[in-house]
């Protein structure tokens, strides 16, 4: 019933133009040439002129290509049958499974009414002390990992996905290296998590337009699961590839770029994806963890910069470790007051002392004399890096808090930490001198002391405890 057109009169980049009537904005069409068939989407209407963006690229599209309009916009099948499956960016099977065509849902749907959101309240446990203790991840948070290309951000994403207690994992891969795609697939498979995962993967060798579809498809599916009450974790890697695809297309469309070639609506485009993260009032949730590689390791590059303004914090991954400075979970205060009474204090104290250690390192490098206090800090910093920051460390939050106390006790006198006395009484390890360096979570777990006076602990708010001497060098964070 839909009309077929045979005359393409303009081809530029991935965009073809035809003359047609009754076509709807964002409608899909099938474009068939000798080289094959691809979906295309209407991106502009001007009088009888229709511009279509061809998903598989315009390469090989002939001027007499057949264009058939489908009467609907981009859709994706949604059902439980998605779980365990792997698709391309255009939602075609990438595994050997069957094509799914039932229960089609539209992608890029409307945003959630803010009045139907609730304040996030559940911690997502990762077993990574730099996250659990210092920048707690919260269900429904949107949070990117900022990293230079080459940092192990994909293994980190995979590990969090496996450790987090979620019902469904949706992985959206953009510009993924084929090896990385296989890594995700195999890792999820080995751990048995593949059966609660659906993957939409665009690899670097696939058509660029498909890269653009990945976040919308992934999030549309995530949203359906969430509406059914599921807790969904959506991994998006790498959002910089997504932004670069937008840039490439904007340039071929001759749009005026705003900053380093990126289109002026980069912020809105990224935001409309990230804002899909939600805790529904009366249904499930979507948590978004993304990877954002920083070209030139520069956080002021338009992609990480715009992202930082949108997301609820960021993890800086540098030299294989999550940096305590610059990393931020904006939602941590929603949950870290209810975990354990010493959580906020340990978080603040360890970071402040680590900041002091960094200053000492700097003094040392400039040849200033090391005082006794400096020596203590050097010992402390070394242990903090090895036992807390190292990404191979995998202990539950409580174990990490105990470990924090142990490190403090091994390096300092209680007074030197500035921790209020009620917490010292309750948590300071008694036989500090016995257990040295390799105090593991197990070793300290059974020493967990009783709860301290609750009133005191609650007064200890982050700002109060954090705002003292902690003064990391901004250069090291941003450079």
């Amino acid at each position: 019933m839909h009309k077929v057109y045979h005359r393409v009169h303009n081809i530029a980049g991935n965009v073809i133009n035809i003359r047609a009537e009754g076509v709807r904005y964002r409608e899909l069409a099938e474009v068939t040439s000798r080289t094959g068939t691809s979906l295309a989407q209407v991106i502009r209407l001007q009088d009888d002129e229709v511009s279509l963006q061809v998903f598989a690229g315009a390469r090989g599209v002939a001027t007499d290509a057949q264009v058939r309009f489908l009467g609907h916009s981009m859709q994706v099948p949604y059902s439980e049958a998605l779980l365990g499956r792997i698709f391309t960016g255009a939602a075609n099977p990438r595994d050997r499974g069957p094509e799914l065509a039932e229960n089609l849902i539209e992608i890029g749907g409307p945003s959630v009414n803010p009045a139907k959101r609730i304040i996030p309240r559940n911690m997502v446990r990762t077993g990574i002390p730099m996250i659990d203790v210092f920048n707690t991840l919260v269900e429904s948070q949107k949070l990117p990992i900022f990293a230079r290309a080459g940092e192990p951000y994909n293994p980190l994403l995979a590990r969090i996905a496996l450790q987090a207690e979620v019902d469904v994992i949706v992985l959206g891969g953009m510009g993924l290296k084929h090896d990385d795609y296989l890594y995700f697939r195999d890792t999820l498979e080995e751990s048995g998590a593949l059966s609660r995962t659906v993957m939409f993967v665009h690899t670097a060798s696939d058509p660029i337009v498909e890269c653009l579809l990945v976040p919308d498809i992934s999030l549309a599916v995530a949203e359906q699961f969430a509406l059914e009450g599921k807790r969904v974790l959506c991994l998006l890697t790498d959002m910089t590839s997504f932004a670069d695809a937008m840039k490439e297309i904007a340039i071929t469309m001759e749009q005026i770029p705003s900053n380093r070639g990126y289109p002026g609506d980069l912020y809105s485009q990224l935001a409309s994806r990230y804002e899909k993260a939600v805790d529904f009032d009366g249904a499930g949730s979507i948590t978004i963890l993304a990877a954002t590689t920083m070209p030139g390791d520069d956080v002021t590059h338009p992609v990480p910069d715009n992202t930082g303004y949108i997301t609820e914090g960021q993890f800086y991954l540098r030299d294989g470790r999550i940096e305590p400075f610059g990393s931020l979970s904006r939602l941590k205060q929603q949950v870290n007051g209810d975990t354990r009474d010493d959580h906020r204090t340990i978080m603040d104290t360890l970071v402040q002392l680590y900041a002091a250690y960094r200053e000492t390192l700097e003094k040392q490098s400039m040849g200033f004399r090391m005082s006794d206090w400096d020596e203590k800090l050097l010992k402390y910093g070394d242990r903090f890096e090895k036992e807390m920051m190292d990404l191979t460390v995998n202990i539950p939050l409580e174990g990490a808090l105990d470990l924090g106390w142990q490190i403090l006790a091994d390096c300092f006198e209680p007074m030197e930490t500035g921790i209020q006395s009620s917490l010292i009484d309750a948590f300071w390890p008694r036989s500090a001198s016995q257990s040295e360096a390799s105090s593991s979570a197990e070793a300290t777990e059974d020493k967990t002391p009783g709860k301290p006076d609750e009133g005191d602990a609650e007064e200890d708010t982050p700002a109060e405890a954090e705002d003292t001497e902690a003064k990391p060098e901004p250069e090291t964070v941003e450079a």
Binding site: R26, Q46, N259, A271, S272, T300, E464
Partner: protein, 577 residues
Amino acid sequence: MTQVQGTIVGVNGNMITVEFEDAVSMNEVGYARLGDLRLMSEIVRIRGKRADLQVFEDTAGLSVGDPVDFTGEMLSVELGPGLLTQVYDGLQNPLPKLAEECGFFLQRGTYLPALPRDTKWIYTPTASVGDTLTAGETLGTVPEGMFEHRIMVPFRLRGSYTVASVAKAGEYTIEDTIATLTDESGDSVEVSMMQRWPVKLPIQAYRERLRPTEPLVTQSRTVDTFFPVARGGTYCVPGPFGAGKTVLQQLTSRYADVDIVVIAACGERAGEVVETLREFPELDDPRTGKSLMDRTVIICNTSSMPVAAREASVYTGVTLASYYRQMGLNVLMLADSTSRWAQALRETSGRLEEIPGEEAFPAYLESVIASFYERGGVVTLKDGTTGSVTIGGTVSPAGGNFDEPVTQGTLKVVGAFHGLSRARSDARRYPAIDPLDSWSKYESVVDNAAVEAGRSVLQRGSEVGQMMKVVGEEGTSQDDFMLYLKSEYLDSTYLQQNAFDPVDSATSAERQQHVFGVISGFLQADLSFKDKTTARSFFHQLTQTTRDWNRAEMESQEFKDIQARLEKMVSEVTVNA
């Protein structure tokens, strides 16, 4: 009035091109029809028989040939009792109502009345038959929460009117007629409690604009003492992401000494608004004992909501603020973030293929920013009372670099600049307002000479701090070192304020005067120590004790005790005290 119709001839993103026959006007609202849906849009350019309209909704599905109904009216909002406590989107759609109607998602094409139609308000007339009145003068009042809401002669009416009839005291809905007015040529107008006003035009139904002189106390010490805001003034808060712009605005919206706060959440995170709209109803306004929500209106057009409506949202906000100013109230309008609004302008300008200025912002960006902030101000109303609209906007500069069009355009027109610094927020020195960079043209709540002395301590102390990084503590003279310690002391006990402590989070003007007086005394004292280590540990202790002081209620005995202790500590180390 005949309905003008047009036909869509082009669709590009949220921009449609429409061909029309009869007269249309710039900024007129039209509805694009998509089946049963009507999508609201606004004319942003007219060329010959074609107009470009920005659509306030997703345009997917529109087609060449679809009809557009023009309304003859510019984008307008409803003004009347019932605005307070509401949560609206940028077009004044009530979001909680919308949720009842449409569920989880913001379905396009659904527009609900902004003001409840069935609520009965207790109306008391104040004007009498035969009175001669002009726009903005009071006809009667209704109680709205804790305020006396003035029902005024509609702002759109020009010239003077004679009151022909008034409704007697009683309960009315906003659509009932409460007065009939006759104009100079004898035509009569029926007036209800609700009127409409186009958001892009300023409301000017007052006698005269005044210079802002009275301080607006925000209860943030850094602001009120060092970089004050005036009632009817304007200020901006630029800063990189994570520096604390939103938290600072949230604190201001709670503690500012004004009658009404209009919050425009413009193009940023939905989650942040959710915190406000879920928490405010539970929080008490310390000034009145009522819920904070009772004095608040929230305009919420967050980042994933339609971009054109985002552009409208700041105007919607400032229009509501100006409306309450007409009642002799002091209103604070907060916009977070004006950069998102500027970006919305940029997106529209790009679609119109206008010649871009710096960073692709339109060439008229600066004048648009200037005329927005111009809508703030203190005014004398026609009855001689005064009202004010104070505007505070955050700015989110790309890369945290203030040398960009939006920050620079804003700095030219505002009266105070609270620049947040990454270095301070990284060091958890909140609020992260840079004390050396920021400025204000308004009057401080404390004595000016003392403020200048404090500023000088901060300035010189920071210079010593820089130097010390190079030459070390050993290479710094005792005097310089003392200066450094004093500036750190002022910073950590006065500039820094704990947002989570019930007492410290908000400091009244009176308390600021008192505390700053005491601390200034310490800064001027000539202190003597045997060496740097003793000096440092003295200041550590002084800092700790002063912070305890900050946490004590001003009326408490504890407050007096700690002050005495502080004074004793300082006098013990003062030369010829």
